[in-house]
């Protein structure tokens, strides 16, 4: 039995691993990967122990705040380094450590040939440490430390192959774009302090706060917190960094940009849902942004030719669904989707990485194909992930998406349900397209033809995650009495339900029609060989380009933000700086020179002139003294 007080070890172990690897990583060589994996696995074991201990306690006692040390004390402001152990944070810790450990293990194989493997695992460990700090923090300021820490690690890992200019640029883009949201989050945290007098979650989650009158301040606070979540979770309009973030190594995409860091935004909203409920508007904003993102990204994913970019847009879309759930107060459903998504999306990314590993880093879907013969394990696990994502009956993804749509329909949000179903159809279509183009048909390049299966160290995590993607639904058999919702209920409350809309059976049937229809259409177009999809693509070139460019949002930002800023900067540089600021400096210099040039004429070098000056000076002094008398 593990004492809950040992929770401080959970983030400390990976952080210690990162410290060791930063200094000794190069000397450890391949051992670095095993060390890093061991630290995260140990954290995962601890987390399992803590979760088991928590389940043993009666429901009312499942929240524990572990005080580590006094951190900041300044005037009335107090922030302690405290970790919060409750069902919500433990759920997140389990996701982060278990998926993290699997991805660490996978990376040992994937990064084996990389000369900077020590540094890679140091960053990866550092990321896990910060992520655990984020989800365990009792204090919003400590949460913010973790929040920025994972952002830093994301930057470092996207730009891990910084020799490639595109990777360096993508890292910068991710950092700057999320910074927009982070700034809003910091302001929101400051407002929480001004309004509630404390940043401790115990204060925020206090029933007394929930009983306050809804007011405009809380709308502003909630929207600022949500802005942070939008940046971190790549929601419209701050989503542009995530597709580019695929420049990083694939395990990084799986860990940071699918399973954990990008879900931090969802966690933040769910964690502070009390504040959102105190505002009439904020939850609606969350719902609308999530829905727009879910649809937009699902559509854009259809047009991507790069396997990883398909998955990146897919992640954006799925995160949108989580926000839709949170926006409807179905927090437990959002959390289940987060857990399920962590499994099947990490799986899909790792499978894509396995494909890249076997085909000399080929990610272009036009040049893959027919891989199931050469990489049967990778293909099987990838298909499992795809089916789960598409929402085929009984798999993890089904319970997640279906429950969101059921809540939408049940609470009378018909439009949300309809658009969500449309998004689900698109999801099935893009993931079916990905699988069909990569695995089915004939190899369309030499690399695909000579593909080879990955080593066992990479296949084992795939198998474990595939089991999760297929079977995690057991946690969510029912939105109220299922294992996970019941576990989370003391923190998050019940999932709302209603009798509006269509009956449950019809909803399930419709969701299966969309899922199987999307998959079937994708197979017919891209996998069956009966349709010349390249010809079809030519005919729909306009649509294809629109989707492939993510509806030109990047170009819009370039035109609306980037170019005006650059023009303004140029104007400032040439007019204000070169003319005015420099003019001031140069003017002072020139004036001094002129004065000095005139003044130095006094120094004639003739002794008698000086003597005359003495005399006159003495005379003046004498007169002055005389007059003063």
């Amino acid at each position: 039995m593990v004492a809950l007080d040992l929770v401080w070890l959970v983030p400390t172990l990976p952080l210690a691993g990162a410290a060791v690897l930063l200094f000794a990583g190069r000397r450890l060589g391949r051992l670095a990967g095993w060390l890093a994996t061991a630290t995260v696995a140990a954290s995962a074991a601890l987390a399992v122990g803590i979760a088991a201990r928590l389940l043993d306690l009666p429901e009312a006692e499942r929240t524990r705040v572990v005080h580590l040390f006094e951190w900041i004390r300044a005037g009335s402001f107090r922030a302690a380094a405290e970790l919060r152990v409750d069902p919500l944070s433990v759920t997140m810790v389990l996701v982060v450590t278990v998926v993290g450990a699997l991805i660490h293990l996978y990376s040992i194989g994937y990064m084996a040939e990389d000369p900077r493997i020590g540094r890679f695992f140091a960053y990866l460990n550092l990321f896990v440490g910060f992520m655990l700090l984020l989800v365990l923090a009792e204090n919003l300021l400590l949460l913010y430390v973790g929040w920025e820490g994972v952002g830093l690690c994301s930057y470092l890992l996207i730009g891990f192959w910084f020799e490639r200019p595109s990777a360096a640029a993508a890292a910068k883009k991710a950092f700057v774009t999320t910074r927009v949201g982070d700034t809003a989050l910091l302001v929101g945290i400051a407002l929480v302090f001004f309004r509630l007098g404390s940043l401790d979650l115990s204060r925020v989650l206090d029933p007394a706060v929930a009983a306050l009158q809804p007011s405009g301040v809380f709308t502003i606070i909630a929207l600022l917190l949500f802005a942070g979540a939008v940046g971190k979770s790549a929601q419209v309009p701050l989503h542009v960094w995530l597709p580019d973030a695929m420049e990083g190594p694939t395990p990084v995409s799986a860990l940071i940009h699918a399973a954990t860091m990008v879900t931090a935004g969802v966690y933040l909203v769910v964690r502070t849902h009390v504040l959102f409920e105190l505002s009439g508007v904020a939850l609606t904003v969350v719902l609308v942004v999530g829905l727009v993102t879910a649809l937009y990204a699902a559509l854009s994913a259809i047009g991507q030719d790069d396997a990883k970019r398909v998955l990146a847009y897919s992640t954006i879309s799925q995160l949108g669904y989580m926000f839709v759930a949170a926006g409807m107060r179905a927090y437990a459903v959002a959390m289940f989707m987060l857990v399920a998504h962590a499994a099947y999306k990490a799986l899909l990314f790792l499978a894509a990485g396995s494909v890249m590993h076997g085909t000399e880093q080929e990610t272009d879907l036009q040049r893959l194909g027919g891989l199931w013969r050469r990489m049967p394990w990778t293909a099987a696990t990838m298909a499992a992930g795809a089916l789960s994502l598409a929402g085929v009956l009984g798999l993890a993804g089904f319970f997640a998406k279906d429950e969101i749509l059921a809540v939408a329909s049940g609470t009378g949000r018909g439009a949300v349900w309809a658009l969500g179903t449309l998004g689900a159809f698109c999801s099935a279509l893009y993931i079916g397209r990905l699988v069909s183009l990569a695995l089915l048909g004939r190899p369309r390049s030499d690399r695909a033809l000579h593909a080879h299966e990955s080593p066992p160290v990479m296949l084992l995590p795939l198998a474990v995650l595939a089991a999760g993607a297929l079977g995690l639904g057991v946690l969510m058999t029912d939105p109220r009495t299922g294992t996970l919702p019941a576990f989370l209920a003391p923190v998050l409350g019940e999932v709302p339900h209603g009798e509006a809309g269509l009956p449950k059976g019809v909803l399930v049937a419709l969701s299966q029609v969309t899922a199987l229809g999307g998959l079937g259409l994708a197979w017919y177009l891209y996998g069956s060989g009966r349709v010349e999809w390249l010809a079809l693509r030519e005919r729909l070139a306009g649509v294809q380009r629109l989707l492939a460019h993510g509806m030109y949002v990047d170009d819009l930002y370039a035109a609306a933000v980037d170019r005006p800023l650059r023009a303004a900067a140029a104007a400032l540089a040439w007019v204000v700086d070169a003319r005015w600021v420099d003019g001031l400096g140069n003017g002072v210099g020139r004036l001094t020179q002129a004065l000095a040039g005139a003044g130095r004429r006094v120094q004639t070098g003739l002794v008698r002139t000086y003597a005359l000056a003495f005399l006159l000076g003495a005379a003046v002094l004498l007169v002055y003294v005389g007059v003063r008398r």
């Binding site: 130095r600 120094q603 004639t604 070098g605 003739l606 002794v607 008698r608 003597a611």
Partner: protein, 101 residues
């Protein structure tokens, strides 16, 4: 009968004026130096005269100081003039005008 103090002051002023004009119009460094001595002695004379007038020895003591300092100054000044003359073959101060703008 004592000589009135005005007599001394007239001589003193005359000495000082001659010295001043000498410093201003002569070009030879040595002559300028001698003129400075004239100025000094003019002042010394005034000091002694006033000292006697007031029956206070302070003025005479100050004169001794002045004489000693002047002697020291002459030592340094003459040394400089000699060394300049050795180097430049001239003691004309108008020719020694390099230290200017």
């Amino acid at each position: 009968m004592r000589t009135p103090v005005a007599y001394f002051l007239v001589v003193s002023a005359a000495l000082f004026t001659i010295g001043t004009v000498g410093v201003l119009v002569r070009r030879n460094a040595l002559v300028m130096f001698m003129s400075v001595e004239l100025q000094l002695n003019g002042v010394n004379l005034a000091l002694v005269a006033f000292s006697r007038l007031h029956g206070d020895l302070t003025g005479q003591v100050l004169t001794f100081f002045s004489l000693v300092v002047a002697a020291a100054e002459v030592v340094v000044g003459l040394a400089i003039i000699v060394s300049v003359f050795r180097r430049r073959r001239t003691a004309n101060v108008d020719d020694l005008a390099e230290l200017r703008w």
